[in-house]
Amino acid sequence: SLLPSPRPHSFPPPAMDSLISLVGDGFVISAADASNARSVVVMKTDQDKIMHLDEHKLLSMAGEPGDAVYFTEYIQKNIHLYELKNGVVMSTHAVANYARGELAKSLRKRPYSVNLNLAGYDKKVGPSLYFMDYLGTMKKVDFTAQGYASFFVLSTLDRHWHKGMTESDAIALVKKCIDEVRLRFMINQSKFMIKIVDKDGIRVLETGC
């Protein structure tokens, strides 16, 4: 498989990225803030932090910008290579374990300072969501948030999430969470990108919510 090259690293810097994901009835919704900012400067407000791994998987990234893109592209290309070599598409569970293994392997060599939410839809299993940490912590969850948003949004999701939410309910809940972040988080994250994955593939719901 493709190998990343080593480089000296100091980490982790405070992650300003906000990621929110939740599982609904036959789909998973992923939202990510769309701002790219360093120190006091906002460089971009249409950054896409939700990578399409294949037709039915979304990998949201949060953390140091170089590592985030590099690591998720590395995962994306190796998933694609597996599909070409073996003729089968990897399941979400397999991709999550693969990504976790790579994070854990590189933790004590050249750590990647990136936190991930993996959202996927498999025919046999249905929708699934995996929380992954830069240390290699991995957990299958029903909903999750990364970054400072988690402090504001996890309790909203605890209160309003229930199993088998419809798409409109789930979008309303995600928007409620985004409003909470906008209201309470000191850093201005005005634009959010929302994507959804279900049996028919990936749809981009909003690019500048």
Binding site: A104, G136, T137, T144
Partner: protein
């Protein structure tokens, strides 16, 4: 424990959390009469935030052998995979299942191999040997084995667990009594630790089989 604070005009800062406390969690094992029980909480946290309440840190290695791990969840998962792999090879080569003492030696050496860059995980092993005699041991993150005949503890509330186990433990408990005793010991210690809790699971291992029960605990 905290270093003494010095007078300063800066706002007080608490010391950084130990890496073994980053995810939280605890595991406890107790021996009875021809039975053992292993129990643990199911919280997965990132420092003070709780991520999940259904994380598993007790793994079945053989029919009558369980491994519980506390500490950094990433290393717990890595070690779970490592031992499943090593035991698969062992079973293939030896043509039989592994004995608890042998497995604890395997765990100890696997941890000590990383002496100068260790896995941040502290295991508890509970099993029955072929004569249905209980086997219990706990280890530190470097693999120092402490084999006991009574109970073994590990985790963020290990100190509390020692206290509750010492209070409630009696020798030669039957499986039902053992389940009660281990559950009460675990819950009493869990409820005072903010990093552990959010659910608990107990496995009682007897010559007839293993019963798994989830405890109704305070969800905070």
């Amino acid at each position: 424990s905290h270093p003494p604070s010095r007078p300063s005009s800066r706002t007080a800062r608490s010391p950084p959390m130990s890496i073994l406390e980053y995810n939280g969690g605890c595991v406890l094992a107790m021996a009875g009469k021809n039975c053992v029980a292993i129990a643990g909480d199911t919280r997965l946290g990132i420092q003070n935030t709780t991520i999940a309440c259904d994380a598993n840190r007790i793994f079945k290695m053989e029919d009558r052998l369980f491994l519980g791990l506390t500490g950094l969840m990433s290393d717990i998962t890595t070690l779970e995979n490592t031992f499943k792999f090593k035991l698969n090879l062992y079973r293939m080569k030896e043509g039989r299942s592994v004995k608890p003492e042998t497995f604890s030696a395997l765990v100890s050496s696997t941890l000590y191999e990383k002496r100068f860059g260790p896995y941040f995980a502290e295991p508890v092993i509970a099993g029955l040997d072929k004569d249905n005699k209980p086997f219990l041991c706990s280890m530190d993150l470097l693999g120092c084995v402490a084999e006991t005949t009574t109970f073994a503890v590990s985790g963020t509330c290990a100190d509390s667990l020692f206290g509750t186990c010492e209070t409630f433990y009696r020798p030669d408990l039957e499986p039902d009594q053992l389940f009660e005793t281990i559950s009460q010991s675990l819950l009493a210690a869990l409820d005072r630790d903010c990093l552990s809790g959010w659910g608990a699971v107990v496995h009682v291992i007897t010559p007839e089989g293993v019963t798994t029960k989830y405890l109704k605990a305070r969800m905070d």
